[in-house]
C-alpha cells in the first residue's frame, strides 16, 4: 500500500480575463504517492503547470484544498509555507531560475544554510557531493551566465534537493535544453528517484514522460486518465515507449 504524500480535493483555479472567468483547473481530486516519479502530461493550455504550482503552494487555488501529509497547505500562513518550501519541497523550473549573482555552489548553499539544524560544514559537504553527482563540481564557482543551460539546470536540481525534500516538483525541466542536456537531466532525476526521492514533474515531452512511474493526463483542467509504469530501465525503453504512446493516443494526445 503506497503512502499518499500530497493530495488535492476539488481543486479549482480560475483566471479573470476581460470580464470572463477562465477555469483552468476544474475540481481536481488527485493523490501523489511517496517514492513515485509522477508525470503530469497534457496538451498546451490543459492546466498542467497550474496544477503543479497549485499543488506545490507556489500559487493559491481559487477553491479546493491541498494537503501535504496531514497539513493543509492552502491554509498555511506565509511563514509556515516558507518553512515547508525550505524543508519539504524542492523546485526545478523550465527556465532554470538560478540567482544570477550567486555562483552555482552558492545557489545550492543558500537553501541549505536556511536549515538551522545543519552546520556550515555539513551544508558545504552535501552541496559538493550533489554537484559531483550532477557532474558539475568543476563549474561550481562559475556564475549562471558562465555555464551551459544543462549545467545550470543540474545546479538547479542540486539546489532543489539539498535539503532532502519530501517531494521534488519539476516544471518542464528539460523544456529549454538541447537533446544531450535533456538526457543528462532526465538521468539525474531518475537517479535520485531511484534513491527514494518523490518527484512530481510536468512535461509535454514523451521522452521525459518515459522516466515516470505514474503518468497522469490532464485535459481542460480535469484528470482524464492515468497509467502506472515500472521503474525506469533503459534496456526496456522501446517497450515502455510503445506503451506510453498507446496510452497517450487513447487520451487523444
Amino acid at each position: 500500500m503506497k503512502k499518499v504524500i500530497l493530495k488535492s480535493e476539488k481543486l479549482c483555479k480560475s483566471f479573470a480575463n476581460e470580464g470572463t472567468q477562465n477555469h483552468v483547473l476544474d475540481n481536481v481530486d488527485l493523490e501523489i504517492y511517496e517514492g513515485d516519479f509522477t508525470v503530469i502530461m497534457g496538451s498546451s493550455g490543459s492546466g498542467k503547470s497550474t496544477l503543479l504550482y497549485s499543488l506545490s503552494g507556489m500559487d493559491m487555488p481559487t477553491s479546493g484544498k491541498v494537503f501535504y501529509g496531514d497539513s493543509e497547505i492552502t491554509a498555511l500562513s506565509e511563514k509556515k509555507m516558507s518553512d515547508l518550501r525550505s524543508k519539504e519541497f524542492g523546485f526545478v523550473f523550465q527556465q532554470v531560475h538560478l540567482v544570477s549573482n550567486l555562483s552555482l555552489m552558492e545557489n545550492v548553499l543558500v537553501p541549505g544554510y536556511m536549515d538551522k539544524e545543519k552546520t556550515t560544514g555539513e551544508v558545504k559537504d552535501r552541496a559538493l557531493e550533489l554537484l559531483e553527482t550532477m557532474n558539475i563540481s568543476e563549474a561550481k564557482d562559475r556564475l549562471p551566465a558562465q555555464v551551459s543551460g544543462g549545467e545550470a539546470q543540474r545546479a538547479a536540481i542540486a539546489r532543489a534537493v539539498i535539503n532532502e525534500p519530501g517531494i521534488l516538483f519539476a516544471d518542464e525541466p528539460t523544456g529549454a535544453l538541447n537533446r544531450k542536456n535533456t538526457v543528462d537531466v532526465l538521468n539525474l532525476l531518475t537517479k535520485i528517484n531511484n534513491k527514494g526521492q518523490s518527484i512530481l514533474m510536468v512535461t509535454h515531452d514523451v521522452r521525459a514522460a518515459l522516466r515516470g512511474t505514474r503518468l497522469i493526463y490532464l485535459e481542460d483542467g480535469k484528470v482524464c486518465g492515468e497509467m502506472e509504469l515500472p521503474p525506469f530501465d533503459e534496456k526496456d525503453m522501446k517497450n515502455r515507449e510503445t506503451q506510453v504512446n498507446a496510452w497517450l493516443s487513447s487520451m487523444h494526445w
Partner: protein
C-alpha cells in the same frame, strides 16, 4: 507629432512613479531656490530702500566730543568748521549735522545689556524710520509718549523683549565722571537699515523730544550730547563710498576726530551679512540638490531604457526614429520637471514669509515675502537647459537598441566576479546575500551613494558649523585675536596702583594668570579708517596662520579682508595715521579676527607708541588678564567688586559676543531645513532606485521565495543593502567634509570676516548624518519593498 504624444502618454502610464518623483525633486529644488533667492534679494532690496528713505546719507560719522574744546558751543563750532572742510571735498553734496544722545545700555528686560546707542528724536527732521508693533504690523500714525522708547526689532532676539519691557540707559555727563541711569518702556519696534542687525554692536534708539530735552538739560544742548555727520554724495559723483571716505580722510583727516564712521556700503554689508551667509549656504546646497537631481534622473533614464528595451525595439521596428524616441522621453521628463518647478514657486511664498519671520529679529529688517520671480525664473531656465542637455546625452543609448535584439527579449544581467565579493555566510545569510546583491549591481547604487555623499557633506558641514558657533570660546576667539578673561581700566583714584595690586593678589589667590596690555583704536591705513588691535605681548596673538606675529615695532598683522579689499599683502609697507601723526609699518603676517567683519589690523604696544609717541611717565594704563582657570572669573569678579567700587578699581569679565544667540538660532534653522530637504531628497532617491531595482529583481525574489525565504526576511535583506549604500555614501561624505569643509566654509564665512575657518570634525556632527541617512534609507526601502508580499514564486511560471 501625434505618435510622439501617444508614446509620451504611454510612458506616463507605465512610469508614473518615475515622473512623479522627478516632479517632486524639481518641486523641492524650485521651493528651495525661490525661497533662498527671494530672501536674499528682498532683504538686500529692503535695506537699500530703507537707507534711501532713512536719511543717514552715504557716510555717517559720530564726531567725538573728547576732541572739541571745553563747551558744547565750542564743540558745535568745531563741527561746523570740520563740516565746511569736508563740504569742499569733491563729490560731497551736503552734510547734515544730526543731534544725538550717545548713551550705554545697562539693562534690558531685567537682564544685563551692553553696547553703546545713538538716541534720536523720533520726529527728527533728518531721519525717518518705519515703526512696528509687537506683531510686526506697520504703525503709520504712531505717537511716542514721555517715558517710552522705540528699539530696533533685533532687541527681540538679543534681549527677548516684548512691548512694555523696560530699557535702562546710562548717560555720562560732560566731564564723563557723573553717570545717570534713565529707564524707558518699550512702546514699539523700529526698522533701522544702518545698525538694526543683531550683529552690530551699536544700536539706534528713539525717544520723544521732551525726554531728549530732559536728558540734556543739565550739560548739553536740548537736542543731544553729540553730532552725527550725515554725508551725502552728489548725484553726479561716480566715487564709491570707500573712495569718498578715503578722499575725505586725505583732505580733512576727519576720521581722526570721529568716534565711529560707517559708510552706506559698509552698513549694507553688515545688515545683509547674516542673510547672505545663510542664503549662501542654502544656494550652495541647492546647487548640490540640482546635481543630485541630475544623478537621480540619469539613473532613472538608464533603468527605464533597460526596462523598456523591448518596447523601444518594437517602436523602432514600427518606424519610430531614434530622435523621435529621444524627444518623446525627454519631453516626458521635462514636462514632469516643469510641473514640479511651477508648483514650487507659489508654494515658496509661505516659506519666504516663514524665513523672513525667523530672520527678522536677527537682521533687523522687514523684507517683503513676495518671490523674486525674475531671478528665480532665470535660474530655473538655466537648470532646465542643463537637465535637457544631460537627458539628451543620456538618451544616446537609444541609438544602440536594434529592433531584433530588443524583440528577442532584451538584455539580461550578466554578472562577473568582483574584487569586493565576500562569501555567502550561514551565520549572516541575509546580510551576506544583501551585500552580494549590492556589489552585483553596483552601477545601480552609485547614484544613490553619490547623492548621499553630497548631502552628508552638507549635513556634517552645517552641523559642525552649528557646534562651532554654539561654543562661546569659538565666538570669542573670532572677535578677540588674543585670549583674555578679565580686563581693568585705569581710574582716577589716588591709590589706584596699590588697590590694583591688591585686586591682582585676589586673582592670584584663585588661579595663575597672564597680564598684558590689550586695547583697540580706529586708525587710518592708507586714508581708510581701520580697527586696530594693540597688544603688549604680540606672541599672545594666537590666530596668526601665515607669516608671523608683529614682533617688532614696525610690524603689523592683517586679515585677508585687507588683501581682498585694499590689496595689501604680506611684506607690503603701509602708512598708518592717528591724530595727525603717521608711521610706516611692514605686514608681517595674516591673522584671523572678525572685528568689523574682518576690516582690521593688529600691532604691538611698542608699534602703537612708535605712532603716537611714548606716554608721559606715570600715565595710568589698563590691562587684561588671561586666567589659567577661566571658570573662576565670575567668583574673582564678585570678590574684587565686593571689596572695591568701580571708581576705585574697575574690573570687567564679560566678553560675550552679543549677537550669538540669534545667529545660532538661525543657524539651527538652516540646519533643520537642510536635514529636511536632504531627507526628502534621499527618500525620493531611495524610492526611485528601490522601485527600479525591485522591478528588475522581482524574479530573484520569486526564486528566494521558492527556496523558502519569507517576505519579511527578503524585505529586511532588501533594506539592508540600502543601509550599506547609506553607510558608504555617508562615509564618503564625511571624508569629503574632512577634505573640503573648511575651505568651503571659509569661502562662505569670509562675508563674516572669517577667512580661515578651521574646525576639527566633531564626532556627533559626523555620526548624526550617518544614522539619519541609514534610517531614511532603511525606512523607505522597507516601505517600497512592501510589494514583496505580493511576489509569489508564480512569477517564475512560464505557461
Amino acid at each position: 507629432m501625434r505618435e510622439i504624444l501617444t508614446v509620451i502618454k504611454g510612458n506616463f502610464r507605465k512610469n508614473k512613479g518615475s515622473f512623479i518623483s522627478v516632479a517632486i525633486l524639481m518641486f523641492v529644488v524650485s521651493v528651495a531656490l525661490t525661497t533662498a533667492f527671494s530672501v536674499i534679494i528682498n532683504t538686500n532690496k529692503r535695506d537699500e530702500e530703507q537707507m534711501d528713505a532713512g536719511g543717514l546719507g552715504d557716510i555717517m560719522a559720530a564726531i567725538d566730543y573728547e576732541y572739541q574744546g571745553q563747551t558744547m558751543d565750542e564743540y558745535h563750532a568745531y563741527c561746523d568748521e570740520l563740516a565746511n572742510k569736508m563740504l569742499a571735498v569733491d563729490g560731497v553734496e551736503r552734510i547734515d549735522q544730526i543731534p544725538t544722545v550717545i548713551m550705554n545700555i545697562v539693562d534690558v528686560n531685567g537682564g544685563d545689556g551692553n553696547g553703546s546707542v545713538f538716541v534720536y528724536d523720533y520726529q527728527s527732521k533728518y531721519l525717518t524710520y518705519n515703526i512696528y508693533d509687537e506683531n510686526d504690523k506697520l504703525l503709520t500714525d504712531f505717537k511716542l509718549k514721555e517715558g517710552e522708547i522705540i528699539v530696533p526689532v533685533s532687541f527681540k532676539s538679543l534681549y527677548k523683549t516684548e512691548i512694555g519691557d523696560e530699557v535702562t540707559l546710562e548717560l555720562h555727563g560732560w566731564e564723563q565722571e557723573e553717570k545717570t541711569n534713565h529707564t524707558y518702556k518699550i512702546a514699539a519696534y523700529m526698522e533701522d537699515p544702518y545698525m538694526g542687525s543683531s550683529v552690530m554692536g551699536i544700536k539706534t534708539l528713539l525717544l520723544c523730544e521732551d525726554d531728549i530735552a530732559s536728558l540734556c538739560e543739565k550739560d548739553f544742548t536740548k537736542e543731544g550730547n553729540a553730532l552725527i555727520f550725515s554725508v551725502h554724495k552728489s548725484k553726479e559723483s561716480v566715487l564709491t563710498d570707500a573712495e569718498l571716505e578715503a578722499n575725505l580722510n586725505r583732505e580733512t583727516s576727519y576720521a581722526s576726530y570721529t568716534w565711529i564712521t560707517l559708510t552706506r556700503s559698509q552698513a549694507y554689508n553688515y545688515m545683509t551679512m547674516i542673510t547672505n551667509i545663510f542664503a549662501g549656504i542654502l544656494v550652495a546646497f541647492i546647487v548640490m540638490l540640482v546635481v543630485a537631481t541630475i544623478i537621480v534622473l540619469g539613473h532613472n533614464i538608464s533603468s527605464s531604457i533597460e526596462h523598456d528595451f523591448v518596447n523601444l525595439g518594437i517602436l523602432k521596428a514600427v518606424g519610430m526614429s531614434n530622435n523621435k524616441l529621444r524627444f518623446s522621453i525627454m519631453l516626458g521628463y521635462l514636462f514632469a520637471g516643469l510641473v514640479g518647478a511651477n508648483i514650487g514657486v507659489p508654494v515658496a511664498i509661505p516659506c519666504i514669509a516663514a524665513i523672513n519671520k525667523i530672520i527678522r529679529p536677527v537682521i533687523g529688517l522687514y523684507p517683503e515675502s513676495k518671490p523674486a520671480l525674475f531671478e528665480t525664473i532665470i535660474s530655473l531656465v538655466a537648470i532646465f537647459v542643463i537637465i535637457t542637455v544631460f537627458i539628451a546625452i543620456k538618451l544616446i543609448k537609444i541609438y544602440r537598441i536594434t529592433p531584433v535584439s530588443a524583440i528577442n527579449g532584451g538584455r539580461k544581467d550578466v554578472h562577473f566576479s568582483s574584487l569586493f565579493k565576500l562569501p555567502i555566510s550561514k551565520k549572516a545569510l541575509g546580510t551576506s546575500l544583501a551585500y552580494r546583491q549590492l556589489i552585483s549591481g553596483k552601477k545601480q547604487y552609485i547614484g544613490a551613494i553619490i547623492i548621499t555623499a553630497i548631502l552628508t557633506l552638507f549635513m556634517v558641514m552645517i552641523s559642525d558649523m552649528c557646534i562651532y558657533f554654539s561654543d562661546e570660546d569659538n565666538i570669542n576667539d573670532m572677535f578677540a585675536p588674543v585670549e583674555y578673561d578679565m580686563y581693568t581700566y585705569a581710574t582716577s583714584d589716588e591709590e589706584w596702583e596699590e588697590k590694583l595690586a591688591d585686586a591682582e593678589s585676589i586673582i592670584g589667590k584663585y588661579t595663575d594668570y597672564r597680564k598684558f596690555f590689550y586695547s583697540s583704536r580706529y586708525v587710518l591705513l592708507n586714508d581708510t579708517q581701520i580697527w586696530c588691535g594693540i597688544n603688549s605681548e604680540p606672541d599672545y596673538v594666537k590666530s596668526v596662520y601665515e607669516g608671523r606675529t608683529c614682533t617688532y615695532d614696525n610690524e603689523i598683522v592683517i586679515t585677508e579682508y585687507m588683501t581682498e579689499n585694499y590689496g595689501i599683502k604680506l611684506g607690503d609697507e603701509v602708512t598708518i595715521s592717528l591724530d595727525g601723526k603717521s608711521a610706516d609699518y611692514i605686514v608681517s603676517g595674516y591673522y584671523q579676527c572678525t572685528n568689523d567683519v574682518g576690516k582690521n589690523i593688529t600691532m604691538s604696544l611698542e608699534g602703537y607708541y612708535r605712532l603716537v609717541g611714548e606716554p608721559e611717565e606715570g600715565t595710568r594704563v589698563g590691562c587684561v588678564y588671561d586666567l589659567e582657570n577661566d571658570d573662576l572669573a565670575d567668583e574673582i569678579y564678585e570678590e574684587i567688586t565686593a571689596k572695591y567700587s568701580e571708581e576705585e578699581v574697575y574690573f570687567g569679565y564679560d566678553t560675550d559676543f552679543s549677537g550669538d544667540d540669534s545667529i545660532i538660532f538661525a543657524l539651527y534653522g538652516v540646519t533643520i531645513l537642510i536635514y529636511i530637504l536632504s531627507g526628502i531628497f534621499v527618500a525620493i532617491t531611495v524610492v526611485l532606485v528601490c522601485s527600479k531595482i525591485f522591478a528588475k529583481e522581482k524574479q530573484d525574489y520569486g526564486i528566494y521565495k521558492a527556496m523558502g525565504f519569507t517576505s519579511a526576511k527578503l524585505r529586511r535583506q532588501f533594506a539592508v543593502r540600502f543601509v550599506i549604500c547609506a553607510f558608504i555614501g555617508a562615509t564618503i561624505g564625511i571624508i569629503c567634509t574632512l577634505l573640503f569643509s573648511n575651505a568651503l566654509l571659509s569661502g562662505i564665512l569670509k562675508m563674516f570676516g572669517m577667512y580661515n575657518f578651521s574646525s576639527s570634525l566633531n564626532v556627533v556632527a559626523a555620526i548624526v548624518p550617518i544614522i539619519f541617512m541609514s534610517l531614511v534609507y532603511y525606512l523607505f526601502s522597507y516601505i517600497v519593498s512592501r510589494k514583496m508580499k505580493k511576489v509569489t514564486p508564480r512569477v517564475l511560471i512560464n505557461e
